[in-house]
Amino acid sequence: MSRDNIGEFEELVLLTVGVLYDDAYAVAITKEISEQSGRAVNVSAVHKSLYRLENKGMLKSRMGDPESKRGGKRKRLFNITPIGKKTLDESIELRNSLRNKIPDLAFKWDFI
């Protein structure tokens, strides 16, 4: 199986989908990321990542119930798939292993 690489923003979206668990849809994700990271996030960027992740099989989705505050429209709710979890784990593992390989000396600065 070819490894699917995901970008930094996509990883963030994937993580947030996991965090929100059963209520992960675009607007909620946008708000969550903005709150947690403190950066302005646009909903269309989140849409783009969500659909891409779904295409890569890392997310699956279902339609929710119609809501009046959405003009009677349903929302698409996302869940992480096992592939998604694996990608996430691998990505985090890779980071951790790389982080652990950094020699202590690299963090020794001279304060003169």
């Binding site: 909903v43 269309s44 505050k69 003009g71 429209k73 698409r76």
Partner: protein
């Protein structure tokens, strides 16, 4: 009130958004909108919504373009259009040619209209600079004049606070000399404010330098004439106001080349203070004397009304000073509208011509409409007839689900394709061929700019109009057919379509009119060349002399020449200038043209005497005699002219002779009542002489050399009497050239249309003709068969077109020319014949083709 997201943005979103993602995406956007509504209020929320919609315009939300039927459909339309264009190269050519010609003429009309509408509009202060004008009674009617009483400028400047600047202006013909260059020029005397009021940027120098009465600012043209491409700054030129008064001026500036669209131009500017030299007799405090113009600048155009009301006291001054020439009202004309209204103002500072330009624009627009109509008619006819060959295509389209609208759209697309190509060609044709040609023919530059944004708006409008005008009818006509009847072969048309015939009829009428127009213009230019002037200009030469001494010296020098007959002196000269005189009889007052000449003048110009006698040389009695022209007699209704007494300047004059009417200037101007008075020798300003034995050129050269030896300082001004009209004949000839070109295009367009129509008609009936041939029809028979369809149409169209063109052109000539050739029936006959020849030639060529073609091939088609 409940707030909702903006409708337009919602609609746009729905337009581009994929169906299966629309619900969730739109839901998200709306949720955000209501969120923002709480946080930021309705306005910002709406803006944010619009912004989000725009940001979502990304591939993930787009409808799938690969399956987009609209795009596929238009691709297909384009392909079929292209194929059908290539399939019928002849009709495509006819359509393209006609439309491009018409659009080219439209571009010309635009360029010309724009040119004359922008004349003098480049002056930044055009709205606040006004020319003072006045109304005075002359010839029994109130007329407006652009001059001003000499003291007016100074008076209003001190009396009105609203007036920011005043500029007095006077023109004077002078001799300008720099080293070996001696020329006659018009020098313009102005107050230094002139360059502040008008936008005449300097290439070099300082506009303030005009304050120095010794400096001169040149036009670029004049700077090049005297100094070539060397820097003229600081050079001194000598200006001779008359033989005695001369003054050196230092060049302190050169004005940039005047824009193409300008009517206020000058050779050079000097300070108004030099008026003492230019017009020594002028008293700047005398309200009875006038200068060429006085201009004012105000802060706000509305203030002019107040100033106008305060002008009454100047009227009193003027009326007291000059009762004969009493001003009845003062007025002001802004520079913005001066050119447009110059036709109603006498003696103003711009070049006139607004009316004739306006007329030309109308005529050109009519021509453009004619051409567009001809081209559109061609298109409609050809489209309808070709549709016969494309019936199956239409039926198939309809069978697979195209509705009527879609077929209309298809045919309009096709037509837009043709029109767009024609637009491109027409634009090139107009800007590269028609406009330069027109400019050359009429000796002017219209400053056409291809990058003018309004031009593109105009072309867009032309495209839309032409596209719809030519395409709409065929599109609707073709889309109307039912599938079943097409497949059954029940639809027959192209042969007897009423609309096609009516349109062809129109084309014939239009081309008939243009042909008659061209013929008449050609006849007219010949007629005018041969028209009698009322005197004999051939063999007469004239020369301008500056005083009596010069006159006598030249006379003495020339009389020894054996080829010279009589020599005459005159103050004014026919064809060059004339004076005015107020003639009174009892209570009646007439303003007439006046020429002061001595006795030999009649001999030299061969004026035809009707009654009485011309002046007798050196007769003191004749000092109180006048000779009048026939028009004078007619106008004054004097029963027995000889011996009648008139008052001029409170002196009595007796008519001693009547001469035949003659043309003072070109045939564009009317013959006016004219009187001759005996010129005193000391007044003489023109010398004219009769050359005998056809030696004009020789005598003319002799005249020039004599002048050059006597007066090397003064430029020679003279010429052949038959040359005084300058480019008048050329202009008349140009009219004929222009109309011939137009008529040629019209005939070609109508001819091509006819040709296309008949060709298509014949090719649609190949089978029929083959059967006829098989059964023994002769070619005359076939020709008969083809022609028969058009005979009635031709007779009707030409029956209408002939008389119509006769009356239209007659009307047209009467409004353009003062004197013109009488309408002739031959021109109409010629037009009719020409069109008939085109028809016959077309039919014959088709008959030949049918004759040559193989019967079997013909039977096999379809």
């Amino acid at each position: 009130m409940e707030q909702k997201p903006p409708k337009a943005a919602q609609r746009f979103f729905k337009l581009y958004c994929k169906k299966n993602r629309y619900e969730e995406l739109e839901g998200d956007l709306q949720e955000l909108f209501y969120d923002n509504l709480e946080h930021y209020g309705p306005n910002k929320a709406k803006w944010l919504y619009v912004w989000d919609v725009l940001r979502c315009f990304q591939p993930y939300a787009w409808k799938n373009t690969q399956n987009n039927s609209t795009i596929i459909m238009f691709n297909n339309y384009y392909k079929t259009s292209y194929r059908s264009l290539m399939k019928n190269p002849l009709s495509s050519f006819i359509n393209l040619f006609g439309l491009s010609m018409a659009i080219g003429i439209c571009v010309l009309v635009y360029g010309f209209g724009k040119w004359y509408k922008t004349i003098d509009q480049h002056h930044t202060n055009k709205k606040v600079v006004f020319l003072s004008t006045f109304v005075a009674n002359r010839d029994g009617a109130d007329q407006k004049f652009g001059m001003a009483p000499a003291p007016l400028g100074e008076a209003i400047q001190s009396d009105f606070d609203q007036i920011k600047r005043v500029c007095r202006l006077e023109d004077k013909s002078v001799v300008v000399k720099f080293e070996d260059n001696v020329f006659h020029e018009q020098v313009r005397l102005v107050d230094p404010s002139f360059l502040d009021m008008f936008t005449f940027p300097l290439v070099i120098g300082n506009p303030g330098s005009l304050r120095d009465p010794n400096s001169i600012i040149l036009s670029q043209e004049m700077a090049i004439k005297y100094f070539g491409h060397e820097n003229p700054m600081g050079e001194e030129v000598l200006i001779k106001f008359d033989e005695k008064e001369g003054k050196a001026f230092k060049v302190t500036g050169v004005v940039e080349k005047f824009p193409d669209a300008s009517a206020i131009e000058f050779d050079c500017l000097i300070n108004f203070e030099n008026i003492k030299l230019a017009r020594p007799e002028l008293n700047l405090n005398d309200w009875a004397q006038f200068i060429k113009a006085t201009l004012i600048e105000v802060n706000d155009p509305k203030e002019v009304l107040a100033i106008k009301e305060g002008m009454d006291k100047y009227m009193d001054f003027q009326n007291k000073a000059d009762k004969d020439w009493a001003i009845s009202a003062f007025d002001f004309e802004s520079i913005e509208t001066l050119y447009e209204n110059a036709g109603q103002i006498r003696n103003h500072i711009t070049y006139g011509g607004y009316e004739s330009n306006h007329k030309s624009t109308i005529i050109l627009s009519i021509i453009a409409c004619f051409m567009l109509a001809l081209a559109c008619f061609n298109y409609i006819n050809i489209a309808i007839v070709t549709a016969a060959k494309r019936l199956k295509e239409i039926a198939v389209r309809k069978a697979i689900g195209a509705n009527k609208q879609l077929v209309v759209v298809q045919f309009l697309t096709e037509n837009m394709l043709v029109t767009s190509i024609a637009l491109l060609i027409g634009f090139l044709l107009g800007s590269q061929v028609f406009i330069p040609g027109f400019e050359q023919l009429n000796h002017f530059k219209m400053g056409f700019n291809i990058l003018d944004p309004n031009l593109f708006l105009f072309l867009g409008a032309v495209l839309l109009f032409t596209g719809l005008a030519s395409g709409l009818y065929p599109a609707f006509y073709i889309s109307r057919f039912h599938i079943v009847s097409i497949f059954k072969g029940q639809i027959r048309f192209g042969k007897n379509n009423m609309i096609t015939k009516v349109i062809l009829g129109f084309q014939l009428v239009l081309s008939c009119i243009t042909i008659v127009c061209a013929v008449m213009f050609t006849l007219n230019s010949n007629y005018l060349i041969n028209r009698s002037w009322g005197y004999q200009p051939n063999g007469a030469l004239y020369i301008k002399v500056h005083n009596q001494h010069a006159y006598e010296q030249m006379k003495a020098a020339m009389s020894s020449n054996p080829n010279v007959g009589s020599i005459a002196g005159s103050v004014q000269h026919i064809g060059k200038n004339h004076g005015n005189a107020i003639v009174k009889k009892g209570t009646k007052v007439y303003e007439v043209n006046e020429i002061k000449a001595n006795a030999a003048y009649k001999e030299v110009l061969d004026l035809k005497l009707m009654e009485g006698r011309f002046f007798i040389e050196n007769s003191t009695a004749d000092r109180n005699s006048i000779v009048v022209n026939r028009k004078f007699v007619e106008n004054t209704k004097v029963g027995n002219p000889i011996g009648a007494v008139y008052k001029i300047d409170s002196m009595d004059y007796q008519i001693v002779g009547v001469v035949e009417d003659f043309h003072m200037y070109s045939f564009f101007s009317n013959i006016e009542p004219t009187i001759f008075r005996l010129a005193q020798d000391h007044e003489v300003l023109h010398l004219s002489l009769k050359v005998t034995g056809g030696k004009e050129m020789e005598v003319y050269r002799n005249l020039q050399t004599q002048w050059a030896t006597l007066y090397p300082e003064i430029p020679f001004q003279g010429g052949h009497q038959d040359g005084v009209w300058g480019n008048y004949f050329e202009e008349i000839g140009n009219h004929a050239v222009f109309w011939n070109v137009i008529a040629m295009i019209a005939v070609v367009l109508a001819g091509l249309g006819l040709y296309g129509l008949i060709t298509l008609n014949v090719s649609g009936r190949v089978k029929e003709f083959s059967i006829r041939k098989l059964l023994g029809a002769k070619s005359s028979n076939l020709a008969n068969n083809i022609v028969r369809q058009y005979v009635v149409l031709f007779v009707l169209a030409l029956g209408v077109g002939g008389p119509l063109s006769y009356f239209l052109i007659d009307f047209f000539f009467n409004s353009v020319y003062t004197y013109h050739v009488p309408m002739s029936l031959y021109s109409v006959l010629f037009a009719v014949l020409l069109l008939v020849v085109v028809l016959v030639a077309t039919v014959l060529s088709q008959v030949r083709k049918t004759n040559k073609s193989n019967v079997v091939e013909g039977l096999r088609t379809e």
